[in-house]
Amino acid sequence: MASMNMIQALNSAMDIMLKKDPSVVLMGEDVGYFGGVFRATEGLQRKYGEQRVIDTPIAEGGIVAAAIGMAVNGLRPVAEIQFADYIYPGFDQITSELARLRYRSAGEFYAPVTIRTPCGGGIRGGQTHSQSPEGIFTHVCGLKVLMPSNPYDAKGLLITAIEDDDPVIFFEPKRLYNGPFDGDPTKPAVPWSAHPKGQVDEGYFTVPLGKADIVRPGGAVTIITYGTMVFVAAAAAATMNLDAEIIDLRSLVPLDVDTICSSVRKTGRCVVAHEATRFSGFGAEILSIVQEECFWDLEAPIQRVTGWDTPYPHAFEWEYFPGQARVAAALKAVMELT
């Protein structure tokens, strides 16, 4: 066990896989010599060479396409898209090709590509460095979609993703790179070293896909969330002294419906929280499944806590961010305290 922040955990996962499997390669803008703008691949090109850790042109569409071709030729590319806001130029290759190849070739061809990309706000990035587009990818059949919320899961899930034979879109909530964040920017930053999930096995280990993590068991209400919102939701519930069961999905596709539904059946109340915009966001799918599966157990309408349906504005970051106040309002409503 070592204390790692999320960047170190991701770096460790890639280091281990580069060593373990000669077919693993890393690629992306500034990932090689420089080690990535968030330093996730730092030192890996020096260690494994330019053939394994590859600087690419600034062309997300070309990066994804090349990764597909490499994967078809037996490699396991891990491609970094520098910011999730810049994944769209690669959207056609992801949606029309990466996600469909196994299907259209009846399994004869497939591309085990992992696409890592930092998402979410809270770092003063403005509208083009703060987006959370995960919902879009959950609608594209053939893709697995992950979003860890801590160093331990980040490492274990990334290793699982790299070894998985299906394409994986791996979102990294960049606000959590250096420490858990409860949504209050005025508080001093807490490092991962002070958090149990910042204690990470230095060796090889995996975290299974499709298994949600019950961060806090509770009986009063179920909060279904992932990414940046895990700690915000926990803090809000704690302040309200609510015995909330907090579920960190970690894996959006495949989705752990059992864990979600058995919790809601138990509590009868449910809040869904994510940082992404609300309208047609992934929260809608979660809410729909809960409504379909647990309707008769619900004692109050399910509430959604999300970012607003606007771009992420540079000057109003904290008015935009779904902080504790927004979570608290939803909890009040679902507990019928108003």
Partner: protein
Amino acid sequence: MQLSPAGAVMRPDINARARDIESLSRDLVRVLDDAGHAVGPWHPHLDPADLQVGLRHMLLTRLFDDRMQRNQRAGKISFYIRSLGEEAVSVASGMALRPGDMLFPGYRNQGLQIVRGISLVDLMCQCLSNTRDMCKGRQLPVMYHSRPGNMFSISGNLATQFPQAVGWAMAAAIKGEDRLAATWLGEGSSAEADFHHALLFASVYQAPVILNVVNNQWAISTFQGYAGGEQRSFAARGPGYGIAGIRVDGNDFLAVYAVTQWAAERARTGAGPTLIELVTYRAAAHSTSDDPARYRAKNDQEHWPLGDPILRLKQHLIALGEWSEERHQAMAAELEALVATSWKEAVSFGTMTEGPRLNADLMFEDVFKEMPEHLQKQRALMRAERK
């Protein structure tokens, strides 16, 4: 259109630097002259037996196309795309490559499938989406693939295969293999971003790849000018990106063979990628859903200077004394019969209207390697519906 006489264009050393051979992107490499003689430095000096194989592949491609076209008209298959007049583009380049080389074809490269020896029955079953369909009923007709044949799955989305082929070639280099990748797209498709990404990545990583632009003058209803072909040849894009670009008579079997062989040697010896523009003509409609009478003159093709690739190779073989009308008739009859018996066998595995059908459960497989719960659930619902 700018034509160079047969034999006129120089053949540079295979490791010439792209910038020193730019004229190749403006000229037009041709080997067969009007009398059917092979002339000039690009003459590949193939064995007559190989030429006969090439002729056979091209003729089989055409007869296969004709038959499938009729089958579509007869309602046996939903859709079809012919390669009429473009047979040399696929057959000659396919023959100039090694079996281990990976091909990323477009939807009009059936000649490659023939060269790689994919059985007609397999191709027909794919078009029939029947119980022996290699795609398990998931793809439109002609969207073939073959792992053993080293032929990548054809996509309905234009141009996507171009940069994928470059990625495949980058991986071959990383793994230290001497296999190369070759890919094809239409001149119209060269407008897509994928074309740019392919040239750029091929140039930056000097990948062992051959990028083929099949310039058959038309993209459904739009003339090649709408893809930029009026201002400049498509081959000329290559030098702009620092990779070799070469323009070749796509209806000249020998020229296509020679140019592909040259590009393949370049790639294999580490001299870098090549962009080949194959100048040809789409003699048929775009597809069975298209009617060219709406956008081009009926006699448009008569003005086409580069002739018919099959007739031209036939004429050459006859001039060599290695072929005759009689042998040609006989081969045609034999291949007609092959196509007919293949079709008989293919339909025995089902058609859209008769015979055995694929199990609809297959719809839910291969979305992922293992079927996730939500798809198992949906499969159960689908079964219940069909009751």
